[in-house]
Amino acid sequence: MKNIIETKQLKKEYRLGNVIVHALRGIDLTIKEGEFAAIMGASGSGKSTLMNLLGCLDQSTSGEYFLDGCLVNRMSRNEYARIRNEKIGFVFQGFNLLSRTSIVENVELPLVYDHSERIKDSQAAAVEALSHVGLGDRLDHEPNQLSGGQQQRVAIARALVNNPAMILADEPTGNLDSKTSVDVMALFQQLNDQGITIILVTHEPDIALYAKRIVEMKDGLIICDMKIKNRKNAKDDLKALNNAEVSSVVEIVERNDAHKKRY
């Protein structure tokens, strides 16, 4: 398996007035193709900074970063844009879909900015990606007509449409209720089973346990990096949740009947 991500002593410093903030103090991280890694950490641990660097949204102060075999340090803004377009699919906490724009067009968006000519028919590709996440029947809907979980699925379809080297998901379940979160994680697990590399940034341990590997950060350093032995299966959890829901409704009706009989 080849390395999708390889960083060597990646550092990032910010300047706040006269104070230099060391957000990352030297990260050595390797993620191979087909992995599903969760990056965890409290706020201020540097996980967002790392995610920005891995996503080519920001430049490191020092160190090396190889993405899909290419060194991507110190590139121009345009080259970064090209790499984001071709190698990375983003999924954000707030979905970040274009409002009042149909979901097909939303998913097509990365292809509009793709100058590589890899994909000829962008609309067909967008429709295919939407079918892949189970929204093939709502192509003309606009984001505000969909539930939160469905919107996140659209965002995932958008991340998939360009056949990226990896999906970078930043707190993808942060705005979702617990059941929908499991639903979205089931989709991520399904995609990972199909061979797509996923990096998940989260602060919720429940969610991180759906990944295959956990990387924990603190104060700009990796303090723990381990495989998850008893990984949670989102599909099973979803079934259990659905059953629990049904039984609770039955329970409510029975209790109501019992209450009525008494009088």
């Binding site: 920005n52 996503g55 949204l57 920001d58 803004r77 345009n78 844009a81 090209r82 984001r84 377009n85 071709e86 983003f90 954000f92 970040n96 879909l97 274009l98 009042r100 724009t101 968006l109 990365p110 509009v112 900015y113 793709d114 000519e117 962008s122 958008r158 360009n162």
Partner: protein, 417 residues
């Protein structure tokens, strides 16, 4: 070839997408877009209307001058000098019928020459009276000044001139005032106790600048000179050149002949001045051009203000859509993609405003022409210039906001609430 075509198709699709996005965001804020466009609409239509009125007036004046005859050369008495002090035009007058005869005989570049003897008179006819000017002229004058008579009348002839006949051609205004009902032809009018027979009514020429060209009586030069004017000299000589491009030759020729006739020495200045219609036209067109430019630049200021309105609203739009810019950048939009997107939006806004402005100005110009005495002339070039200019304004004033959008940092843009 195939590859090239493919790229072209892709670019076309990309352009369509950009255009679609631009239209969508303009239509999303209908009221705001309309108010912004209003600035450009008013500016564009003001420029077109002002230029149209300027040009229309210039054309009207030129037509009036041309109706006097394009080959016309006017020889009038020049300024006398006594001891180096000019006494102003007309201060000496030595024109005689001999000058006219000399030009008529010796000049080759002229078609016709006529003396003009002008007398202000009170004319009585049919119990009414009217104050006007009588012009004593030769038969060439009709051709030089393009005078014709209305049906039922006739022009006077060479023989009438030689015989000092008391015949008169009266202008439309004079005819309307003296003979409001019925034909004037054949009637008698009295000028300073001399009876004149009206042999024709001149066809109307209309208003010439400030003057009523039809308030005139034409009579043989000899009759007017000997019976009404008195004195030795005639007022003016009118000449027409054989063609428009020979006007300059004719002018030079007349100068030489007049100097000869007046026996002026080598060092003496002309005691007459020669003016051509072309010179008058030039003077007037330069005046109207300045006026038009002035009007257009005042209107142009409103166009500029409209452009600033566009810049203002584009800045608001960029701030509002910071998050959208972040999303686009995160999926791979380059700075130039964002720049083009916002520039297109500004250009679409201002060009559609320009088109509405053109339509508005067309209807206003039709209105002006049909309901007021002003004349406005619409021309394709100014419409084209206004159209291109409105597009250029959109791009010029849209550039700063668009560049601001393109320079955004994707992380900050994504985080913007």
């Amino acid at each position: 070839m195939l590859i090239k075509k493919g790229i072209k198709g892709k670019n076309m699709r990309a352009f369509k997408k950009i255009l679609k996005t631009a239209l969508r965001s303009i239509l999303r804020n209908r009221m705001r877009s309309m108010l912004t466009a209003l600035g450009i609409i008013i500016g564009v239509s003001a420029v077109i209307i002002m230029v149209a009125i300027g040009r229309g007036s210039a054309q009207k004046i030129q037509n009036d001058i041309n109706s006097l005859g394009t080959n016309l050369i006017t020889v009038s008495p020049g300024a006398a000098r006594s001891g180096g002090v000019s006494q102003g035009s007309g201060s000496i007058n030595r024109f005689t019928f001999r000058d006219v005869e000399k030009i008529k005989k010796e000049a080759v570049f002229i078609k016709g020459v006529s003396p003009v003897v002008r007398v202000a008179v009170q004319v009585i006819g049919d119990g009414k009276n009217w104050s006007t000017s009588i012009y004593g002229v030769s038969t060439d004058y009709f051709n030089i000044r393009k005078w014709e008579v209305e049906n039922g009348g006739e022009l006077f002839t060479e023989r009438d001139v030689i015989a000092n006949k008391k015949v008169a051609l009266i202008g439309k205004t004079v005819a309307d005032n003296l003979f409001p009902s019925g034909s004037a032809v054949g009637k008698q009018i009295r000028i300073r106790n001399s009876p004149f027979k009206v042999i024709g009514v001149l066809k109307s020429k209309g208003q010439g600048g400030m003057m009523d060209q039809d308030d005139i009586i034409l009579a043989p030069s000899t009759t007017v000179f000997y019976r009404l004017k008195g004195g030795e000299f005639i007022d003016m000589i009118n000449v027409s050149a054989i063609s428009e491009d020979k006007v300059d030759n004719a002018q030079k020729e007349i100068e030489v002949l007049m100097r000869e006739s007046h026996r002026l020495g080598q060092t003496e200045e002309n005691d007459f001045s020669i003016r051509t219609q072309a010179e008058m036209l030039e003077t007037i067109s330069s005046v109207t051009a300045v006026v038009t430019l002035l009007l257009a630049s005042i209107a142009g200021v409103s166009l500029l203000v409209g452009g600033i309105g566009i810049m203002n609203i584009m800045l608001v739009s960029v701030t509002e859509r910071t998050r959208e810019i972040g999303i686009r950048m995160s999926v791979g939009a380059r700075g130039s993609d964002i720049l083009i997107q916002f520039l297109t939006e500004a250009a679409v806004l201002s060009i559609s405003a320009g088109i509405i402005g053109i339509l508005l100005s067309v209807s206003v110009i039709v209105f002006i022409n049909s309901l007021t005495t002003l004349s406005a002339s619409m021309s394709v070039d100014i419409v084209l210039i206004a159209f291109l200019f409105s597009g250029a304004i959109g791009i010029f004033f849209g550039f700063y906001p668009a560049r601001k959008a393109a320079a955004m940092n994707p992380i900050d843009a994504l985080r913007y609430e």
